[in-house]
Every structure is written in C-alpha cells, then in structure tokens.
C-alpha cells in the first residue's frame, strides 16, 4: 500500500489560516541579563506561562506593523529553554517605542512551529498584549504594547 504523506503538498494559508510565526532564530538566552540603567533605553520583560516544562519558547519581537504583519525581520529573536512552567524573558536596550511579540512553545525543541497537514499550528503560541488569534494571528495594533524608557512588563501565556 502507498499513501501520499502531507509532505507531498501543503495547503496555502486560507480560511483556516495558518498562524505562521516567523521562526525565531536562536540567539541568546536572556535570563540573567542585567537591566540597563541608562534611562534613554527601554527594557521589556515578559513573564512566560507554559503548561509543561519542556522544550523551548521562541519569541520574535517586532518594532513595526510593516515587519510584524508583512513577514519582515524581527527586532530581536530569542530562544528560551523551558525549565519551569513560569519563567521570564527580558529584552534590554530597546529603542523606546511600540513592540509586538509573536511566540510559540517549541515543545519538541526542533526549532519549528509544528503544523498539521493543513498548516494549522499544533504547538502552543502566544502574542503580546494578550492578543487572541481569530482564524489567523492578531494584527500588530492588537498585539502591540507601548514600551517607554525604563522597564515595561508583559505576559506571554502559552497555556491552553
């Protein structure tokens, strides 16, 4: 017997639109980074909430609607190994401004947001500002948070 597999082709994003999150390149693990004491820069600290302590959280932080909505480059992209169900990820030395994060919990640690054959994400994901998906990722306007000079906190909740 022979069966085509889902590798043969994939559905293009459509009605049940795929929540493709830009694959966050592994850069640094920000835990333990010192919070900048220069007042003109901004710090954004996310508290991360997961169901299980496994894999890694991948966060891509965008500084503009063009980059966030249009598939552009994130300002920062980090990989945070998950060692507990409650953790923090801190971005320091940011230009004050508006930022939005797309993030997913890479349960199996393969670096990708795994999807089913119809392109639906099957690993937990989250957006900044508590923005919810509705047949697709929320817009930059919904996910953006104001990050003035100094420290700002946010939450990325991956719990289902």
């Amino acid at each position: 017997m022979r069966y085509p597999t889902h590798q043969n082709f994939r559905l293009k994003a459509g009605i049940v639109a795929s929540l493709i999150i830009a694959a966050a390149a592994c850069t640094t693990t920000p835990r333990g980074e010192a919070v900048s004491d220069q007042p003109e820069t901004a710090t954004l600290a996310f508290s991360l909430k997961m169901d299980v302590a496994e894999g890694a959280v991948m966060i891509a932080l965008y500084g503009s609607a063009e980059a966030y909505d249009g598939g552009g480059e994130p300002v920062r992209a980090v990989r945070v190994p998950v060692e507990g169900v409650s953790m923090r990820a801190t971005f320091t030395d940011l230009e004050p401004g508006q930022y939005a994060a797309r993030a997913f919990h890479d349960l199996n640690g393969d670096g990708d947001l795994n999807t089913n054959p119809m392109g639906r994400p099957i690993e937990p994901f989250a957006f900044s500002n508590g923005a919810q998906a509705q047949f697709g990722p929320p817009s930059f306007a919904d996910a953006a948070i104001d990050v003035p000079a100094g420290e700002t906190s946010g939450v990325l909740d991956f719990r289902r």
């Binding site: 069966y3 459509g14 119809m118 998906a133 509705q134």
Partner: protein
C-alpha cells in the same frame, strides 16, 4: 382559529409573554423543533409507553446527537448547524425505555456561555469581534453525529476533532487527538465503518480544494491518512465508501470569495455539474473523476460495487442546496420552508467512465440501510419523507419511507401534520439475516413531546409496534447510532 404559536405555547403562555424578559420571549418564539434543550441536561427519566408493546429482543441504546442551543439572551444563532451538540440516549430494556441527554462540554459552548451570547463562529454564524478562535476546535460544536469507538462515543462536527463522550452518563471526556502530528485535523460527521471494522473518514478543506482522508483501526489508531487535492472547493458534508473505493461527490456548491461566515462564502454554480471523485482505498493517488448533472445533497445511504466494477450509491438530491445560509437561519425562526425538494436518487458510475443519476419522485432525507448489507448490492433504503399534509415549519419531514431500488416499491407511514420526523435507525433483529426494526424518533407538536417509535422495518406501513413518549420535548436531532445490549 388556532395558530401555530398557540399550538406551541398554549394560550396562557401567550398572554404571559408581555411580562417576560427578552430571553424568555425569544425562547418562547422558538419553534418547538429548534428550542433550547435544558442547559443542565436531561436526567434519565422513564418514557411513557403510549402505544403498542416493545418487541422481545429489542435491547440496547439509541444514541443521538444534534444542535440544541439556538438562543442566548435575545440572540438567535446564525444557522441550524451551529447550535451546541446535545447527546441523548434512549435506553431500551425489558420493554421499557428511558431518555437522558447532555450538552457536549466544548470550548465553544463555554465561551458562548461566558459571553451570554453567541461569540464563536460556525457554519452560518459570524465570530464576534475579538472572539478567540485560535484553532478550528475552538469553533467545534460537536453537534452533528456520533461514532462508537470501543468504550467511547465520539460526538462529531464537520471541521474539527471528535469529542469523546462517556456513554454511561453522557459526560464529556474532551477532544480526541488521533495522532500528535495530526492534531486538530478535521474529522467529518460522516465516517463509514467497513465490514472489517476500519473507520474511514474525510476531513473537509473548508475553503481549500482539498480533503484529508483517514483510515482508523477499530480502536481509533490511525492506520493511514493523507491530504488529497480536489478539482474544486466544494462543500463536503457526506460521502460514500465501497469495499475498495472512497467516493467524494463534489457538488457545485463551492467556496467563492471567502467572507465569513462560511455559509455566506458558498456559491451555487450548477454549470459546474456534480463531479464525483473516486479514490482507491489502497492508494490515495489512484483517482478517477466522473461527471453527473448538477445537484446538491447532504446525505448518502451506502455505496457498493457490482461484479463489472460499476459503483452505485444512493443520495438525497435537490436542485439546489436546501440549508444554505438563508434557509439555515430562517428555519430556526419559524419561517415555513421554501426552496427545493429533496428526492431519493442513485448515482451510477461505470468502469468506462460514464455516469448517470437515477431520480425517483419521492421526497427523502436522512437515508439509512441495514448495516449488515453495507458495501453489498442491496435494494432497501429507509429514510424520512413527506406526509400527506406538511408540518407547519421549515422541517418538511413527517413520514417514514422504505424504498426498494430493485422493485421500485415504496411503502411509508405518515405521522401526520403535527409531527416532525427525525432520522430512523435500522436495528438488526437478533437471530435473523435480514429482519430488523426501525427506531424512529419524532417530535410531536401537539403533545409537545419527543417520541420514539419502533417499526418492523419490513412492514412500516403497519405503523409503530410501540411508541414511547417523553415528558420533555427535545429539539430535532440529526444523526444517531444503535449500541445493542
């Protein structure tokens, strides 16, 4: 003159209407077939035997599913298909019958309940702005059909995962992930169980010209699966399966420009004809496409292959879609049905690539067969049909029909204008090769009660052998199955 509303409410309730809050008034306006089931469910209660006697040997449970939450506050949901699933159990033992029912505890139901209105999207209901829909299962009402898998019932919707239900108390165990990498792939409401126990199903591409194919072992383990491309993005509701083939009829009801809700995106394009894609069970890449005159359908009965390779399957066909966005909404609001009639028909697909539709003049929906004969040449099909006088609302079925394709003979039983008939289920008579009973639920508008009738399947024109009546009317259900004791 007695109006339909009087019939429903009784005069006292009509007078009391003015003093009721909007929510209660909305519920009062609901036609009895489309009123809310009790939110906390229906605890198991005996049904009263109002006629005849249960046949000896009839012992087991008829489980049924159907949407049952149509109103929240003063809002009415957008389409019949979008109400939350309510699973009911008619348990028959020693001549007695009891009835119980529970809503399936879905994410959709919880979020709608929290909001106090309908916020989650459906087939014909738009999502409220900001409603969280991160996956198709968030919109899954588990409202259409049931499948029995080992010790579980699966409540099925069209575009999401099965919801596991405990058959003993109808409590919800939760959505089923069939395999981790196939999480949240759609599993339609019309799986077909082959005689070897393999569960075949498809998942619709919902707007994409594609379908996902499933073959599950009897324990629910995925034996095979695959995504196939379709020549068009037809609305897929039901299909048919033979011993060696999977048959996807592609009606010319297709997704045009997508604008939610889904039903609003479907365009009727009869010039595209009714295509039928036949796929080899053993090799999903082996496919053959047939062309039939345009027609719309929701349900098939069964399919089989003849010795020369000709494939036949019965389907209930109409000139255009019956429950489209408009009619699926208006039926809930008590608007009498307009639109095309649905006729018992048969598709014939020949090895030389030619194909024909045979249409009978008989109105028919919810067709079923004796499951012992599945995938085999067969004459009889059972279904609901129209009685001599139509019932008052949008659901035009108030009679039961047995039609035989080999003899052309039709027999029927007319419940009368005060009754709405639901899908019958064929129950094999123990110790017989072809004997059986039809279990036929109805909603009696005059008695304001759900009834369950038992017919001798071969003598339905004699009328019910037994009729039980509940004290609580439940809204109409779609599909069910029998689990013998």
């Amino acid at each position: 003159m007695t109006t339909r509303r009087d019939l429903l409410r009784g005069g006292a309730a009509l007078l009391a209407g003015a003093a009721l809050p909007a929510a209660a008034q909305a519920q009062q306006r609901a036609p009895l077939g489309f009123h809310n089931a009790p939110a906390a469910g229906l605890d198991r209660e005996p049904m009263r035997l109002v006629q005849g006697r249960a046949p000896a040997g009839l012992s087991g449970t008829l489980f049924r599913n159907g949407p049952a939450q149509f109103r929240r506050g003063d809002a009415t949901i957008g389409h019949w298909f979008d109400g939350d699933g309510f699973v009911r159990a008619f348990r028959i033992s020693e001549g007695q019958c009891t009835l119980s029912g529970r809503f399936v505890d879905t994410v959709k139901r919880r979020r709608d309940a929290e909001a106090g209105t309908f916020v989650m999207p459906g087939f014909g209901t738009p999502a409220a702005p900001g409603a969280p829909v991160s996956s198709p299962d968030d919109a899954n009402g588990a409202s259409t059909a049931l499948l029995s898998v080992q010790d579980q019932l699966w409540a099925l919707w069209e575009g999401g995962s099965p919801y596991a239900i405990d058959p003993s108390d109808l409590s919800t165990r939760g959505p089923v992930t069939l395999r981790d990498d196939l999480a949240e792939m759609p599993f339609s409401a019309h799986p077909k169980v082959s005689p070897d126990g393999t569960i075949w199903n498809f998942g619709p591409g919902f707007g994409q010209p594609a379908a996902f194919l499933w073959a599950l072992a009897p324990d629910g383990r995925v034996k095979a699966s695959g995504l196939i491309k379709l020549p068009r993005a037809s609305y897929l509701h039901d299909w048919a399966v033979t011993a060696t083939k999977l048959i996807l009829p592609l009606q010319p009801w297709v997704v045009g420009r997508y604008s939610p809700p889904f039903a609003q995106s479907l365009a009727w394009r009869p010039e595209l004809d009714l295509q039928v894609l036949v796929i080899d069970k053993a090799d999903f890449t082996k496919q053959k496409l047939y062309d039939l005159p345009a027609g719309a359908f929701f349900h098939t009965a069964d399919a089989y292959e003849e010795a020369d390779g000709t494939i036949r399957f019965d389907l209930c066909l109409s000139e255009e879609p019956v429950l489209d966005a408009d009619r699926g909404a208006s039926i809930l609001r008590g608007v009498p049905r307009t639109g095309p009639e649905v006729k018992m028909s048969m598709a014939v697909l020949r090895p030389d690539g030619s194909a024909d539709l045979i249409k009978t003049p008989y109105t028919a929906e919810f067709p079923v067969i004796d499951q012992r004969l599945r995938s085999q040449p067969r004459g009889d099909v059972y279904c609901v049909t129209e009685g001599a006088v139509r019932p008052p609302w949008g659901h035009p079925y108030n009679a039961l029909m047995r039609f035989n394709w080999q003899t052309g003979k039709r027999t029927s039983f007319d419940f009368g204008a005060n009754t709405l008939a639901e899908e019958p289920i064929f129950v094999p008579k123990p110790g017989t090769a072809d004997g059986g009973w039809l279990l036929a639920p109805t909603l009696n508008l005059k008695a304001s009660a759900t009834q369950l009738h038992v017919f001798d399947a071969q003598r339905i024109n004699d009328g019910p052998l037994a009729t039980w009546q509940s004290s609580t009317p439940l809204p109409l259900s779609f599909h069910g199955l029998w689990v013998g004791a």
